[in-house]
């Protein structure tokens, strides 16, 4: 299962290295206290659960194909999260750093593109918005 409503156990994800691996790259997405200049007090991730699981598996399949030496594990939180909590974790383990970095970067980039997960940001005044990455400025979309 790639999706979890419980805190992601990052330490456990780091224990999958094989004797032939010399590099481990970890990416954590963390809930920020603002977006596009508006303060955020908490967020909620909603997922199309069954499809999100299968789309995550397709991402994993693509990573195995494109980075055959890398072992990649991925987890994504759903439900309510507080500022500072880990929303997504990608661990890429490979014999050398180039594949580990590349597979890790590709993993998070592809998740953001295809996996049906949505983020609602709650503001200090009690209002909330669903985040639409297609309407954010370029630098935010890349980040």
């Amino acid at each position: 299962m790639y999706l979890t409503s419980s805190p992601i156990d990052v330490a456990k994800m780091l224990l999958e290295a094989r004797a032939s691996d010399g590099a481990l790259c970890l990416f954590l997405g963390v809930v920020r206290n603002e977006n596009e200049g508006r303060a955020t007090v908490s967020i909620e991730y909603q997922a199309y659960g069954a499809m999100a699981e299968s789309e995550m598996e397709l991402v994993a399949d693509g990573l195995r194909r494109d980075f055959p030496t890398a072992l990649v594990s991925m987890r994504h939180r759903v439900g309510p999260l507080a500022v500072g909590e880990v929303s997504v974790a990608i661990v890429a383990i490979a014999p050398h750093r180039a594949e580990a970095f590349a597979a890790c970067r590709a993993g998070i980039d592809r998740i953001k593109t295809t996996v049906p997960i949505w983020k609602r940001e709650f503001h200090p005044d009690g209002t909330s918005d669903w985040v639409d990455p297609t309407k954010e400025s370029e630098d935010r979309v890349i980040g």
Partner: protein, 81 residues
């Protein structure tokens, strides 16, 4: 035939429900279903083009013809990560 529609995130807010069943004429395509919904939901009518759609939990083309029992969802812009 009858299909099962799911709504998520901003689309769920716009429609006011999570899911519903719909009876459709045989041969109805994904695009035709979107056009039908757009006539009912003002937010959908304001979109310049059809959003990504999923049939039975896989991304589907607008030309895809629906079958009895299909699970269909139109997907707002995803924002995982």
């Amino acid at each position: 035939m009858r299909i099962h529609l799911l709504y998520f995130a901003s689309f769920r807010d716009a429609v006011g429900r999570d899911e519903e069943d719909r009876d459709l004429a045989a041969g109805t395509s994904v695009r035709a279903l979107w056009q039908m919904l757009s006539r009912e939901v003002p937010k959908f009518a304001s979109f310049p083009s059809m959003p990504p759609a999923a049939v039975n939990r896989e991304y589907a083309r607008a030309e895809t013809v629906l079958n009895d029992g299909d699970e269909v969802a139109f997907l707002p812009p995803v924002a995982g990560g």
